[in-house]
């Protein structure tokens, strides 16, 4: 009984930190309409900054706290709002997702650059001190945490209900334009909210850092816990968010408690927010479709079948030439880019055409790689067949609860699923376990692809075929339906379209494509393990696809080659700072611009085409003939 009480205290403490983090998230979301994926990243960066002042430069704790929580964090929040978020107002959910995810990835890159991985002791406040209440020893740090959370709740209530600024904030939430007409400056209110939000993230980061050993990934993942709590309040209600946070904290603590007495399920604590999120998603009622949105974005000219075949042939010819020129080591590097481009094709269908965002694409890739390892022994094509068959149903299962709701929820669900899979699914001994699985290369029709050159050409052929297939899909009935659904979900509904099943079909197809690509990705690398398919690895893939141009096949090729280049150039392993910093920064600057790099290049070459006769006559080069890129549009 005493144990149970002790764990209850621990649960409330953990829940308090979650509540602080989650309330900051809700505050910024409600006042600016932008869901800040970088919320955990801000907390992480601030925790590191605090560590720098407090333990590296030995500032007194109160001074370090004051400078970080009340000066640097709000300034950072305000800066982010002013530079990045203000321009996002009214943009599609997809665009704002890409920018905040880019910001998160960039913050991680900055932290890795400034604080390279090493042990950094981060003691609790007043370590060793505490009081005994009802026979239970509560540390000073725990007491402080609970008091801060309670205080934050009070301040919030007072701010929102008893001050002019609070009323202005609530007005901006209800109707931004109307509030502006009544003399409220939505920009100022939103800047204030972001400053406050960043401060709260900083507090949460500093309080939780001692138990997470000041680790970049874990601290950034605070955002997952925060939104799992916030979903309880439908991302809007602060009191319900507090309730959600405390429940999540208690569940985490009781789970540890039950281990003392019974066996443990490995990875369950890490997956707990995922489970909670999915339960909540199932309980949230279906949202009303919004009518009267602006529809029809500047749109694509889809290449004809002939054009896409010509582009594909050109790619394969170039690949054959390259395979003779480059060394094996370099072929693997460029091949990595092709494999990534193949993965990004799955995002062209989902994000580019369908307007949905997935943050778990690498999880599906991992399933494909596993299928190739398990069923493709000796290079059997069965592995290739099983890869999409394994990824597709799991994708469907994951997406189903979120698809009834707005686009943001699908992104949240996939992110949670990615985290859940890396904690509970992939580490299972029958999947990857703690070891590395060998992924064989294909042996088919007497052809062997064990050598680098033929495998490289194979990748190019597969990409060309898939690209032609994707474009054919886009030109056909299904492509028209998906475009129609992105332009106006409401109109589609009244015409008799079941939005949920159609979106499900798109997501399942995309998951299957990612799984299929995973078989090639795994066999190119020759091995696969849990750490290759962390949720965080999906983010550069999404961001780089958008940078390349997620609405076009040539954009996927550009993005894949860019990311491959970046990954192979940064040698320090899976989370090399360079990849994150560069991808994040590029996404932040380009994410707002709907036209990816592929489109930019084609625009630059357009005048050239008219001047040079042979270029005009030439078979269309793929990047030149792709449809006009366009960023992920929000779905209703």
């Amino acid at each position: 009984m005493k144990d149970l009480l002790a764990f209850t205290v621990i649960g409330v403490v953990i829940g308090s930190i979650y509540a602080i983090a989650a309330s900051g998230l809700v505050l910024t979301y409600t006042t600016s309409g932008i869901f800040n994926f970088a919320h955990g990243g801000i907390g992480m960066l601030m925790a590191f900054t605090y560590w720098e002042f407090r333990f590296h430069h030995h500032w007194p704790a109160p001074l370090a706290i004051f400078v970080v929580v009340f000066v640097i964090a709000p300034a950072l929040g305000a800066l982010i709002e002013r530079v990045l978020m203000r321009n996002l107002h009214g943009r599609s959910t997809g665009t704002s997702l890409v920018v905040t995810i880019g910001l998160m990835v960039m913050l991680m890159g900055i932290a890795q650059g400034l604080w390279p991985p090493k042990a950094r002791p981060f003691p609790e406040f007043f370590a060793g001190h505490g009081v005994t209440i009802l026979g239970i020893f509560v540390t000073a740090h725990e007491l402080i945490t609970m008091v801060v959370a309670g205080f934050a709740a009070l301040v919030f209530w007072f701010l929102l209900n008893r001050t002019r600024t609070g009323v202005a904030m609530r007005a901006v939430v209800d109707d931004r334009n109307l509030a502006a007409l009544n003399g409220v400056s939505p920009a100022r209110v939103s800047m204030l909210a972001w400053a406050l939000g960043a401060s709260l993230a900083a507090i949460a980061g500093i309080l939780i850092a001692p138990s997470l050993n000041l680790e970049i990934l874990q601290l950034t993942l605070l955002v997952v816990v925060a939104y799992a709590a916030a979903v309880v309040g439908k991302l809007k209600s602060l009191p319900m968010t507090f309730v959600g946070a405390i429940i999540l904290g208690l569940l985490t603590a009781y789970l540890s408690f039950s281990w003392l007495h019974a066996g443990s399920i490995p990875g369950l604590p890490g997956a707990l927010p995922t489970i909670m999120l999915f339960v909540c998603l199932l309980l949230i009622p279906e949202e009303r479709l919004r009518v009267g949105r602006l529809t029809g974005e500047r749109g694509p000219r889809v290449p004809s079948l002939n054009e896409s075949i010509q582009g594909g042939v050109l790619l394969v010819v170039v690949a054959v030439v390259v395979s003779f020129v480059l060394s094996d080591a370099n072929l693997v590097r460029v091949g990595q880019g092709l494999a990534l481009a193949l993965i990004m094709l799955s995002l062209v269908v989902l994000t580019g055409y369908g307007g949905q965002v997935s943050l778990a694409q690498m999880t599906f890739v991992g399933m494909g790689a596993f299928a190739m390892a398990r069923f493709g022994m000796g290079g059997s094509p069965l592995g290739l067949l099983m890869a999409p068959l394994l990824a597709a149903p799991i994708g469907a299962l994951i997406a189903l609860p979120a698809l009834r709701l707005q686009g943001l929820y699908l992104a949240l669900a996939t992110m949670a699923f990615g985290v859940g899979a890396e904690n509970m699914l992939f580490p299972r001994s029958w999947l990857f376990g703690s070891s590395t699985r060998v992924v064989p290369r294909l042996h088919i029709l007497g052809l062997h692809f064990d050598k680098e050159a033929p495998n490289f050409v194979l990748l190019a052929v597969v990409f060309a075929l898939m690209g032609i297939g994707v474009l054919a899909l886009r030109r056909g009935r299904f492509g028209r339906l998906v475009s129609a659904m992105r332009d106006s979900p409401a109109a589609c509904t009244t015409l008799g379209v079941n939005l949920t099943t159609t979106r499900l079909a798109v997501f399942t197809l995309s998951a299957a494509m990612a799984g299929f690509a995973g078989a090639f990705y795994g066999s190119l690398r020759g091995s696969a393990q849990t750490n290759d398919f962390l949720m965080f690895q999906s983010l550069p893939v999404l961001l780089m696809a958008v940078i390349g141009g997620v609405t076009s096949v040539s954009g996927a090729l550009t993005g894949g080659l860019l990311l491959g280049l970046l990954q192979t150039q940064s040698s320090t392993g899976v989370l090399a700072g360079l990849v994150f910093l560069f991808t994040g920064a590029a996404a932040v600057s380009l994410g707002r611009n709907p036209h990816g790099v592929a489109f930019y290049i084609s625009q630059k070459l357009e005048p050239l085409k008219d001047k040079v006769p042979w270029l005009r006559e030439a078979p269309p080069d793929e990047p030149l003939t792709e449809e006009l890129p366009r960023i992920a549009a929000a779905t209703g």
Binding site: G292, T295, G296, E297, G299, R480, D487, S488, T493, L495
Partner: protein, 242 residues
């Protein structure tokens, strides 16, 4: 019994009662008007009928069965189509593709039926509505009036038994408006039930068989165009107390 019958619909937004005990109906082969000042609740009423807005009370009966709890997409499949006051076209597709996609959608859910040539079918609709000259243009590049007609053409491609038209003639000039009136009469002759929300009172008086007048969320009058013209409370609602 009318094809569509809505009984005592109530909708509340927060503390505001947008619709109060509203009953409307529409017969097959007839054009029924639904008029009223701005903010009277006409579009909300359409949203309830088409299933986009769950009402707080009341029933919607279509073809003798209660469809109050039927989701919007299934109402579409029962033969109920609509247009939107704030246009909801598929802007990235051409006018022809807008119609084509609707015809394709219908073929997905009406699998058992005999279907003719889809291109021919769509072209017929485009000619009927008068969109031939812009058929191959993207809808986000054509004038508003034509976008509205595209919405109507798209609705027709699902072969509806009832069409809810939300201010279809705004954005059309006088000649176009007149042609549009003729089009509505033609459709009605083919047996389609039309429920028309419209600001152009002349058009309404010309084509409608019966008119419902909505003011502040309540129906204040129902009757023939002549009766509505004479009705005192309608005049008051439109012209004010003076």
């Amino acid at each position: 019994m009318p094809l569509l019958q809505a009984e005592e619909i109530n909708v509340t937004f927060g503390g505001h009662r947008a619709l109060i005990d509203v009953s409307v109906d529409a017969d097959a082969g007839r054009i029924t008007g639904l008029i009223g000042p701005n903010g009277a609740g006409k579009t909300t009423c359409f949203n309830v009928l088409s299933g986009l807005q769950p009402p707080n009370g009341g029933r919607v009966i279509f073809d003798s069965s209660d469809i109050s709890s039927v989701p919007a997409f299934k109402r579409g499949r029962l033969g109920m189509a609509r247009t939107f006051q704030r246009i909801e076209v598929f802007g990235s597709l051409t006018v022809f593709e807008n119609v084509l996609v609707a015809a394709e959608i219908r073929r997905r859910w009406a699998r058992g039926e005999q279907h003719g040539d889809i291109t021919e079918e769509c072209n017929d609709i485009i000619d009927l509505v008068g969109l031939r000259s812009v058929a191959d243009q993207r809808v986000d590049s054509i004038p508003t009036g034509l976008s509205r007609l595209t919405e109507l053409a798209r609705a027709l491609a699902t072969k509806p038994r009832l069409i809810l038209l939300d201010e279809p003639s705004s954005g059309l000039d006088d000649d176009e408006s007149e042609a549009f009136g003729e089009l509505l009469l033609t459709l009605a002759k083919q047996g389609v039930a039309i429920l028309l929300v419209e600001h152009d009172i002349d058009l309404v008086m010309q084509v409608c068989d019966r008119i419902h007048v909505l003011d502040f969320g309540s129906i204040i009058a129902v009757g023939s165009p002549a009766e509505i013209r004479k009705n005192k409370s309608v005049q008051k609602a439109y012209l004010g107390e003076g």
